[in-house]
Amino acid sequence: MAHAAAAAHHTSLGLDSRKLAFWAFIGSECLLFASLISTYLIYKGRSLVGPYPHDILNIPFTSISTFDLLMSSLMMVLALAAVQRGDLKWAKVWLFLTALLGIFFLAGQVYEFTSFVHEGLTLQRNLFGATFFVLTGTHGAHVTVGVIWLLTLWSRALGGKLGKANALTVEICGLYWHFVDVVWIVIFTVVYLIQ
């Protein structure tokens, strides 16, 4: 009988409870973003006044943002691999780079939002402004939380406190980060490319 010492920490599925909870959370977030995306799609083409998407969306710029986020997912997965093999040095490097790419993404969003506002697209201007800013703003808020989480893990690593035993916390941060990336993949396609 293998569950002698583990009697108090037995898990029915043999899976970590925190990981289970986090996948359930990600499932729940699908509904959150789907509601925002649905609102965007419902109101597409119904703005009474411009600017309209084709007037203002900058595909080359946003493609770079998309590329940035995809690369940050790569950095994240390399960070996790480093933590899993106990490589503190590379864990620090990859975690920092992931966070940095996240910050670049956010900087790009800030630039994009301010330039849109300069060109006359505000939250209040029309339905495109309202739905666009709330959808991408919610996504940006999620990225911000992710960056804070990554920097927290990075600072733990700097203090030497991110060993193999903490791999799960890094994995869960990774799940969050990749999910945020995946939502962007959908937004990039649905908002920017399919106009």
Binding site: L41, S63, F67, L70, L78, A81, G174, I185, T189
Partner: protein, 102 residues
């Protein structure tokens, strides 16, 4: 309270991750290409949806490790994801997105 790696199998190597990253970049390039090349415009929507679905799947299956992990996680994520997609389709239908134009 760290469980034994019951739910984790052999981790993909860095090589796999890099190859996935390369494919993601290529897919993105194709997406942007489809957007700019007028010849593709009749099939723009389905093409872009398929390409982005591919990217989505690659990130979820490999970077989020879903392919190698317990099926349970797939269920926890896939169920609500399916629900979300059906809800979006339903709402789009109700607001006239699928009405044929005269």
């Amino acid at each position: 309270m760290r469980e034994s790696p019951a739910g984790e199998h052999a981790h993909p190597t860095a090589g796999v991750y890099l190859r996935v990253a390369a494919v993601l970049v290529i897919l993105t390039v194709i997406e942007v290409g489809v957007f700019y090349v007028p010849a593709f415009h009749p099939v723009l929507v389905p093409t872009l949806l398929i390409l982005s679905a591919l990217k989505f799947s690659l990130v979820v299956m490999f970077y989020m490790h879903l392919k190698m992990d317990s099926r349970f996680f797939t269920f926890l994520f896939g169920g609500p994801l399916l629900l979300a997609m059906v809800m979006t389709m339903g709402l789009m239908f109700l607001f006239g997105a699928f009405v044929l134009k005269r």
